[in-house]
Symmetry: C3
Subunit: 319 residues, 3 copies
């Protein structure tokens, strides 16, 4: 099957996953994002690129935080934005996902930003649009199940490039609950595509997917070993529902072994950057001293995230 997120000319048609997205497309998105960081500094943070376009934030799973990033990005591009929390509406009335999509297409939607608890929902929508020949309507995956969170992965790449410039010289460690993390999946795909020579994951065995080594990853079960001499530390959020699950000891015990403290961070290179997709559990996966410390680039990630989303949206639907 052809990669459904590229059109016949190899241009971005949808943004569904970073897995399989060609290097030049990823680089092109990062390049497009750069000027948008300057827009945010202006007195009037507004561009007419998506004026008169209708963007639907389709959140089948609640996430005010992620919805907000897409909403503000779209509004700064002058789009008309409609938020739909679908869990409480059509689905409850028994309308199927694809009937909902067909209806919004009939309203002349230009773009769907989709968050869904089920892995693959945005891909399903994209294939449905493709089958119907609706090539002028675009899908952006805003996080689906354990599958992918590509705009998060892209803003992470933007951040790394901003601070470290050359991916091909880096050692990067991803720390935490890789097993349940769509963020980690998107990060791993992009880091591999962009040529990071040493990619590590550091996690307890219970929070690692099977056969992860096959992705070209070095696996560590010890923070001291795994963090040694890395350039980039990418922390993952520990989901609340995991904390109370059987996979883990208490948050306090998790913190003792896997939490990123200044002491552990000292094992990384002295100019290593610390990243986190947010929202953080301070005192669980990360210590406040690190989160607020000089090596943290967690807030720049958010800033770059708006620019990356503006870039993706304008590449997909801009005039």
């Amino acid at each position: 099957m052809r990669n459904p997120q590229l059109n016949k000319n190899g241009e971005l048609q949808h943004l569904l996953t970073l897995d399989g997205l060609p290097r030049d497309v990823i680089v092109s998105i990062l390049d497009h994002a750069a000027p948008f960081t300057e827009v945010a500094e202006r007195e009037v943070k507004k561009l007419p690129l998506l004026r008169g376009k209708s963007i639907f934030n389709l959140f089948f799973e609640n996430s005010t935080r992620t919805r907000t990033t897409f909403e503000i990005a779209a509004k700064r591009l002058s789009a008309d934005v409609v938020n739909l929390n679908v869990s409480t509406s059509s689905t409850a009335k028994g309308e199927s996902l694809l009937d909902t999509i067909d209806n919004l297409c009939a309203m002349h939607a230009d773009m769907f930003v989709v968050r869904h608890a089920a892995s693959g929902a945005p891909v399903l929508i994209a294939k449905h649009l493709q089958a119907a020949g609706r090539d002028h309507i675009h899908v952006v995956n805003a996080g689906d199940g354990r599958h992918a969170h590509p705009t998060q992965g892209l803003l992470d790449m933007y951040t790394i490039r901003h601070y470290k410039h050359d991916f091909t010289q880096l050692t990067v460690a991803i720390v935490g609950d890789v097993l349940h993390s769509r963020v980690a999946r998107s990060q791993i795909a992009a880091l591999n595509t962009l040529g990071v020579p040493e990619l590590r994951v550091i996690a307890p065995k219970t929070l690692l997917p099977a056969e992860i080594e096959k992705l070209g990853i070095r696996v560590f079960h010890d923070m001291s070993e795994g963090l040694k001499d890395v350039d980039v530390v990418m922390m993952l959020r520990l989901q609340n529902e995991r904390m109370s699950g059987a996979l883990l000891p208490t948050p306090q015990e998790y913190y003792k072994v896997w939490g990123l403290t200044e002491e552990k961070l000292a094992l990384a290179k002295s100019d290593a950057i610390v990243m986190h997709p947010g929202p953080m559990n301070r005192g669980v996966e990360i210590d406040s001293a690190v989160a607020d410390g000089s090596q943290a680039v967690i807030l720049p990630q958010v800033t770059f995230g708006i620019a990356v989303r503006m870039a993706v949206m304008s590449m997909l639907a801009g005039q």
Copy 2:
């Protein structure tokens, strides 16, 4: 009492119900809607007709789907739109419906789009505005109890006119739960006003209002008889709450007798169109083969619905 939805000059002041709305007003709305279907095809789907107007979507009953159609229509007309889900706010604080309205009027509202579980709520609001001499503020009924859903009825008329041109030559059948349906009430009123010579309803006796024959309707309790040689089949949604009620057998049994299948549809004219207000219960009132078939005009109904709502809003409050 004077028809509260027309002003002294017989022009549209509010859109509350299609019952009693003069033929020339209905036709005028359909005529106004036509050019708006072209706006939706443009690169920039935006007109300045309601720029600087304040439209309040007052949803006392949750309906993301209907709210979305009004919201996108208003935004394409450049209005400022504020969504209020009132069930969870003022009403909970004991504020009366009319106090809420007075407050929003004091904020210089230009239009209220009202969805309410109680039949008559939008009429009550319109009369209240009239009594206060607030003739510059308009009410659009977005569905009230079992009473009316006039924009749905109008988009249905637009759809029929688009495909069948002349109402005075048609046989039209409405199928399903007429008893509880505000959609059916609005359809019947408009079809009668527009001169449809043969209007049928097909439903089990338990889902029919008393004395419906008095509305000039032929009643059928058998799909094969009722669908024979019709030009237009208008399916109704079977509400979930009815399915579990005492009025009906199981959804499966309902489907067997009343569901629209290709076999049953074959009894209608070969160029009959199939309509549904959505959201559909596939496999209950309608078979997927029909819903997605060549005679279905269900998605065009949605498209025309945006144009009709833009027409109503701009006729009421446009410059």
Copy 3:
């Protein structure tokens, strides 16, 4: 500690409380609001003063009514507005208040409109911004716990000035549940600052804060005495949760003693105005005959409230 709501030049940096806000700043806001009342009368209620600005309505406590006033005010100033009901999102995910703020700052927020159940939350946010040197980001308190509701207090002052012109000649009575009311705190602060010579509160002992006389207030426990010859009657809302509490008898008994009836109002000056912050409990703290009577200025309060909020927002963040 320096008043965190003023910058080094004594200009408004945040609007957090009316307590301690200098007289000239209050008067300046009221003066700025006046022309905005005319904007609301225009055909196109829209000014470009906040074009390209990002305003976040951060409602940690649900209030559709107050959120609506800020949303419509911001939209009429052409701002990009994003609504966040935070109770159901980040906080639920364990993100702290200040992490949420930092995230939104990183998205280049220009203003936060904050409603919070905890007294002091907006002050905490303002101090956090100040400590981080983010002087270009502004906070407007939209009601915090029992502490303050400054835009309500300001619109009340606007209303009194509109009808009575000179604060220094007035006798003003605040009636009802002063103990739990952030509105009353803001009113008392502003009325004292603006030089009202006789300020009264009329309330049962159980609904009065301790040592309220120290604020320069005359306390009455009897409506007949307290309302005698007043120029302005400011009713307070009786919170539903108080009604069922141990502090009070039934709503009916409360009404008999403390409800504002025409009979009791007759004790005030014949041209006294009656105010209420809404939403009203008709038949509890106020009789409908008074609420809808010729002396009530309750709806003008709402109208002036939009103008006052436009004034505050444009003074804080306008070009």
